[in-house]
Every structure is written in C-alpha cells, then in structure tokens.
Amino acid sequence: MKDRIRQVIKEHGHLSVDPGTLADDADLYQAGMTSHASVNVMIALEDTFDVEFLDSMLKRSVFESIDSISQALTEVGVEA
C-alpha cells in the first residue's frame, strides 16, 4: 500500500524531493506539499484505492506523512 501511496504523492504532491527517498514518517508539508496539492493527493488516493475518506479525516495532520495516510486508508477499509 505504501508504494501506491508514494506513487500518488509523486504524481500529485509536487514535492521538492522524490517521494521514493522519503521516510514513511517524513513530513510531506515540510517536503514542499502545499495545501492545494494535498487536496489533489486526497482525491487521487480516493480514486486509486476506491474509497472515501470521512470528514473527520480530511485535515492537514492526516495527510502529513505516508504513515498517517496509510493509517487513514486502513481506517476506511483498505487492506495493508
């Protein structure tokens, strides 16, 4: 799952570094993801994993690292 998350971030996160080089717990915002880009990441994640996030998950902190994203995806039923 984390490889697919990295792929989504690579395509939509507009980071200043390659997500492949980022640790699972690295801060994506500190790596250059803007609020606007984070929305595109969320949309692409929903599409890639065919899920919908809950409103309570749609906040900055949930999308701040690959770890936190994978936890959110697990919560909405994606198998690890």
Partner: protein, 390 residues
C-alpha cells in the same frame, strides 16, 4: 446575549465607543490617524488583556464577549473596532498555542495584563502573492549568543507604528519550504521597523497600516511551539473572520441606524404622506438581518467547537464554514451601507450630516480585501472537491 458574555466588559466597551470612539471617529478618518484616545480608554478598562486567562491575571473573557466588544466599537468607529479585533486575534493565538509550561509566553501574557500591551501582526509579505500560508522570510539558525533573527518585507502592518509587539509569520528555518511556517512574538525593542511607503487609503484609515521592512532578534522560546498551519486553522483564521465580521456588522448597523433616523425625521416633517424611503428602509432591515444572522451563528458554532471538539476546527468542512462567514459578511456589510446611502440620499452622501454614511461605506469596502475574497474562493473551490458534508 448568551450567558457567556461578560456584560460588565461589554458595558465598558459601549461607554468607550460612545464617549471616546464616536466623537473622534470623523477626525480619525479624515486625518488617517490612529484612534489613540480609544485605545487609551480600552487600556484603562483593561480590555486589551480581557482574553488572557485568569491564572495569568487576565479577565479570562470569552470570545463571545470580545465579539460583542468589536461590534460596539465598530458601530462608532470602524478603525477602532478593527484595531481592537486584530489585537485580540494575536492574543488568542498565544493563549491557544503557547503550550503547557511555556514560560516566555506565560510571562509575556502577564505583561500584556500589567502593561496593557498592544500587539500587531506581520503576516502579509512581499513576494507571496497574498498567500498567508507561505513565507519568504525565515528564522535564522541560532547564533553563538543563542539569538535567532529574521528580516521580513511586509506590504502592510496594521497599526505598525503604534504596536508594542508583533506576531510575525516566517519559515521555520533557512532551508524550510514556503509553507513550513512558525509564528514569532517579538517586542518592539527587539526589532527595527523601517517604514515603506505611505498610508492614504479609501477606508479604515485609522488603522494606520503602512508597509515595513521588519527585522528582529529574539530567543528560540519566542517562537510559538506549534506549526503556523495549526495556529491558522484552529485560531487565527476563524477568530479573525469572527471578530472582523462583528466589526463589519457594527459598521453596517450604524449605517442602518442613520438611515432609520433619516426616515423618521422625514416622516415627522410630513406626517401621513407616503414615504418611499420608508419602504427602502424596511428592505434594508432584512439585508441587515441576514448579516446579523450569519455573524451570530458562526460565532456560536465556533465557540461550541472550541469548547468541545477542537480537533474538528482543522477539518476541511469547518474551514469552509468559517471561510464562508468571511466572504458572506464582507460582501453583505458594504451592501447594507450602500443601501443605507440609497435611503438617505444626498444627506447621506455628504460627509457632515447626522445621516452621513460615506465613512461606513468606505470602511466596509475594506472587508473584501482583508485576505482577498478571490483567494478564499480559490481555497474553497479546492476544498469543495474533497470535503463531504458542508
């Protein structure tokens, strides 16, 4: 008024608004000068520290109380209301985000109480395209003396020449991304403020907000310990929108009151004759009530979330909600003022009658520029693509 409103503080604010802000409002506007008497009176009543918690010596007032004070001041002098509102926003950010056991901020808040310090913010910056969520300026590495520094070029610093301290947004470190920001509180004596340009705007003239190049030297404990994105989402943005909109509601309410006084005077002169302006006044009242409803409801919703489920304040649906307050109130307030002008006609257009509403209209027109509505719409457009229940 709800039970959470400190009626004593609101009464004091109403007295200051009537006795001090109102008689100076025309001069403050005409000369674009700081409403110094009003701020002095607010200090006297210890209103600058009203939001500071009781354990640090403040009144521990609620946001409802502060909102009501903004309304009362805005009703008599828009610039006075806005200066007060902006100061309280900086205080709220410190109160909410200083963290447990943050000695420097606890001490500084005690100083706000003892000395009635006035705090401004330096959030806008040349080169960011008006995006408060990005900074060019950065906090330097600490020197051997332990001090850090920044230099920031700000196109506007509201009441910059009159503030005792400044809450400034900067990048967390020299190599941090533009959106990786922190907020730093620095005293005037830790700063150099080099003025840039002049201040001769259309409205809100008493806020005295020219540009500055601000440089500061400070210790690391003067940096609020959480990311600015969190401060902005949970406190600065919603509290700004709530307090600003109460100022705008105050301005619009006085414009309505003047239109109403005009119609009453006209009705007395010609008793029993048809009075077209009276119909327009009735239409105006419904416009004002829409503004009042949106502003009051948003305040209650924020206070409920702040007291209960604070994490919800960071959710996109909540961000959308308080962005909408700003957009709606900033468009409705000048509309009410303009229609009040329509009721009063030429005596409203003239600047020296009891029914003048020119200042109200000009002050209210600043609302859509304080974080441009176009920018907020762009943010909302993006959030609407993903948020669920809004």
């Amino acid at each position: 008024m709800t039970a959470d409103v400190d009626t004593g503080l609101v009464e004091a604010a109403r007295r200051i608004a009537t006795d001090v802000a109102a008689p100076n409002a025309i001069e403050v506007d005409k000369e674009a000068r700081f409403p110094a008497e009003t701020v002095a009176a607010l200090r006297e009543e210890r209103l600058l520290s009203a939001l500071v918690p009781v354990e640090l010596g403040g009144a521990g007032a609620s946001l409802e109380t502060m909102a009501q004070v903004c309304f009362e001041l805005g009703r008599r002098c828009g610039a006075s209301g806005m200066v007060f509102a902006m100061h309280q926003i900086q205080v709220a950010c410190m109160v909410d985000h200083r963290g447990d056991g943050a000695q420097w901020f606890d001490d500084y808040l005690r100083e706000v109480v003892a000395e009635q310090r006035l705090i401004a913010s330096i959030t806008s910056e040349v080169g960011t395209g008006g995006d408060m969520g990005k900074s060019v300026a950065a906090v330097s590495e600490a020197g051997t003396d332990g001090y850090q520094s920044f230099e920031k070029q700000a196109p506007t610093v509201s009441y910059g020449p009159h503030a005792d301290a400044f809450l400034t947004t900067v990048r967390r470190a020299p190599d941090a991304e533009p959106g990786d920001q922190v907020a730093v509180l620095t005293r005037r004596d830790q700063m150099e403020m080099e003025p840039q340009g002049t201040w001769d705007p259309l409205g809100m003239r008493g806020t005295c907000s020219p540009g500055f190049i601000a440089t500061a030297r400070f210790t690391p404990d003067q940096v609020l310990p959480v990311a600015f994105s969190t401060i902005s989402a949970e406190t600065m943005t919603p509290v700004s929108h709530i307090l600003w909109s109460h100022v705008w509601l105050g301005i619009a309410t006085d414009a309505f009151d003047r239109a109403r006084a005009f119609v009453k005077a006209a009705a007395k002169r010609k008793p029993g004759e048809p009075l077209p302006a009276a119909i327009r006044l009735s239409e105006l009242m419904s416009e004002l009530s829409l503004l009042r409803a949106e502003v009051g409801l948003a305040l209650r919703e924020y206070c409920d979330l702040h007291a209960g489920d604070r994490a919800k304040l960071s959710e996109m649906a909540t961000i959308l909600r308080f962005n909408n307050l700003k957009i709606a109130a900033s468009e409705q307030a000048p509309k009410v003022c303009q229609e009040a002008l329509g009721v009063c006609g030429i005596v409203g257009y003239k600047n020296d009658t009891p029914f003048s509403v020119g200042r109200h209209l000009r002050d209210a027109m600043s609302a859509r520029l304080m974080v441009a509505n176009e920018r907020i719409h762009a943010t909302d457009a993006s959030l609407l693509l993903i948020a669920k229940e809004v």
